[in-house]
């Protein structure tokens, strides 16, 4: 290949008497330069070279792009190595496929079909999980118990510091805001009732559920999603093992078990956080604790506990579900993790509202 470029690439066309388009190419063809543009009419063409000094793959690429749809193409006047590079591409590819671009209506329709499909898959996943649980109870499911103990550790014990921090701050903030209001009516002692009741019934479970979504759902979605990418779930299926039973069930069980415990822990820490603020000025520790214990009934505790079981299940299920339907790409795994957190938090808030109505109906 010559290394002395003498001029810019050029191409010109003329039509011969028999209707053949004669295309003359020449100059120095380099990928870093803008290439000439031509329009060829008809389905017969002949390409000749004139003062063609130098070329890299841009010339065969240009020839391929312009002449791939020409029925009778004569390249015999070109240098042999150039001919072979163009013919190689022609031979290797069959008819060039045109990509279809959807219109607005198709895009909307596809979105509708896909989203209804994704709800269908979500319900299917819940169904399979429930079925897997029943099969586990009768001892017929193959469950990875190693995963179960590992998740007790990672989703439960390892979450203690962050749950403690956020629980403490939640209690502290509530006490702080509550005190400002209660001081106006001279009822600062009730700040203990406010904090303890809110933590027990609502905030303990809600905060822990949200933390589980951020920590655990995303982790599960990435774990199962990347197993999807590397075909590990296919390998399980091929071995006759149901991936939902083997992978999702131990995770869901571990988190459903650990989130209520973490919620109880968060509740205590939150009450303590409130005490720090309340006792810094207005109340004595004894006053605060007496009020707090008086405010918490078994019913309130039960309400928070039931909620936290549900929130734990939602967080774990969202992660496992989004992971199992993740697309097989790095982007797909990232999307699965994001959507697991979004799905989990949304469902937790929705179910919190539903629980509020139900507990109100049952006067709990």
């Amino acid at each position: 290949m010559s290394h002395a470029p003498t001029g810019l690439p050029f191409a010109r066309t003329e039509v011969l008497a028999d209707g053949t388009a004669l295309v003359t190419v020449g100059g120095s063809w380099k990928r870093d330069q803008p290439l000439p543009e031509i329009i060829i009419k008809g389905d017969q063409a002949k390409v000749v070279a004139e003062a063609l000094t130098d070329f890299d793959s841009s010339l065969p690429a240009w020839l391929y792009a312009h002449f791939k749809n020409i029925r009778q193409l004569d390249l015999s006047a070109l240098p042999v190595r150039l001919q072979s590079l163009v013919k190689m591409a022609e031979k290797a590819s069959s008819e060039h496929a045109q990509s279809d671009h959807d219109g607005l209506l198709e895009t909307f329709g596809n979105w509708g079909v896909e989203s209804s499909g994704s709800w269908g898959r979500a319900f299917e996943h819940i169904g399979h999980t429930a079925l897997g649980f029943l099969r586990m109870l009768v001892g017929r499911a193959k469950v990875n118990w190693g995963d179960f103990t590992l998740q007790l550790q990672t989703a439960g014990v390892d979450a203690l510091p962050i749950v403690a921090l956020l629980g403490f701050l939640t209690g502290l903030i509530m006490a702080y805001v509550g005190l400002i209001q209660l001081r106006q009516v001279g009822a600062t002692v009730y700040v203990a009732n406010l904090v303890s009741l809110a933590m027990t019934r609502e905030m303990g479970a809600l905060m822990t559920g949200i933390i589980a979504c951020g920590r655990t759902s995303t982790a599960f979605a990435s774990q199962l999603g990347s197993m999807n990418v590397s075909q590990e779930t296919d390998a399980l299926r091929a071995l006759g093992i149901n991936p939902i039973e083997y992978l999702a069930l131990p995770r869901i069980l571990a988190v459903t078990l650990m989130v209520p415990l973490l919620a109880v822990f968060a509740t205590f820490i939150g009450v303590f956080g409130g005490m720090v603020v309340a006792c810094a000025g207005d109340l004595s520790i004894e006053q605060y604790l007496t009020q707090a214990i008086r405010a918490i009934s078994f019913k309130s505790f039960l309400v928070g506990f039931i909620k936290s079981i549900a929130f734990g299940f939602i967080a774990a299920w969202a992660g496992c579900y989004r992971g199992s339907v993740a697309k097989r790409s790095a982007l797909g795994v990232g999307e699965a993790a994001t959507s697991a957190a979004v799905l989990g938090i949304t469902f937790i808030v929705i179910f919190d509202a539903i629980f509020a109505v139900i507990f109100n109906l049952f006067d709990l």
Binding site: M1, D32, D56, S57, W62, Y64, A89, E90, A92, S93
Partner: protein
Amino acid sequence: MSDTPDILTCTDLAIGHGKTVIMDRLNLSLAPGKILAIVGPSGCGKSTLMRALGGLDEPLGGKTTLMGVDLAAAHGQERQDILRQSGFLFQGAALFSSLTLRENIEMPMREFLKAPRKDIRQLAEYKLALVGLADAMDKLPSEISGGMAKRAGIARAMALDPAVIFLDEPSAGLDPLSSGRLDELILRLREAYGTTIVLVSHEIPSILRTADFCVYLDPDTGTMSAYGPPKGFLQAGNSPKVHAFFSQARFD
């Protein structure tokens, strides 16, 4: 061609994983435009040698030069420039999973070429057509077969018209027709651009068709036991082990 400096050399090269040496005393040199095949039993360090030759991994000892540059002494920008002039096909193709095939090929071009977008697109389509993937340009790597991914990986290795291309098991997983076409493509690339090609392969017929030189890595001795034109390996000559490997593979 005898006065042309070698494009790739290694002197007393030692390679391995971590600190464990698996092959040493490796001495090779390859003139531009030649095709070298690295063969040997599984796990003998073929891919590791190729990665060291291409400058992807640091060798445990010895010296390698690529395009006249000592790889151990090349750092930063100089090393990046050398790597840019070589193309790599990895064993698992290593396509970017969230990009379509066309985008996979366009990616290095967009980064390094100043050409207009339209011309880059044209180049990418041509490179994919060269490996027979003109119909699959808009597919994602997850939507194509392993053999197709291999071919797309080769197209990406060729994206920047490199001077040296390293191919790790290019024809593994390909049907005989595609494999034959790939051999032809390798020969054409060398013929048209003078590209130097280093390949790791188990396909003896393909090696006999394409390679100018062949190096056999022997795990028993921990070094290379033969270097020369592959046709010579078929004759019972210097090394009975190499002859047995080639003959066995040939008649399998």
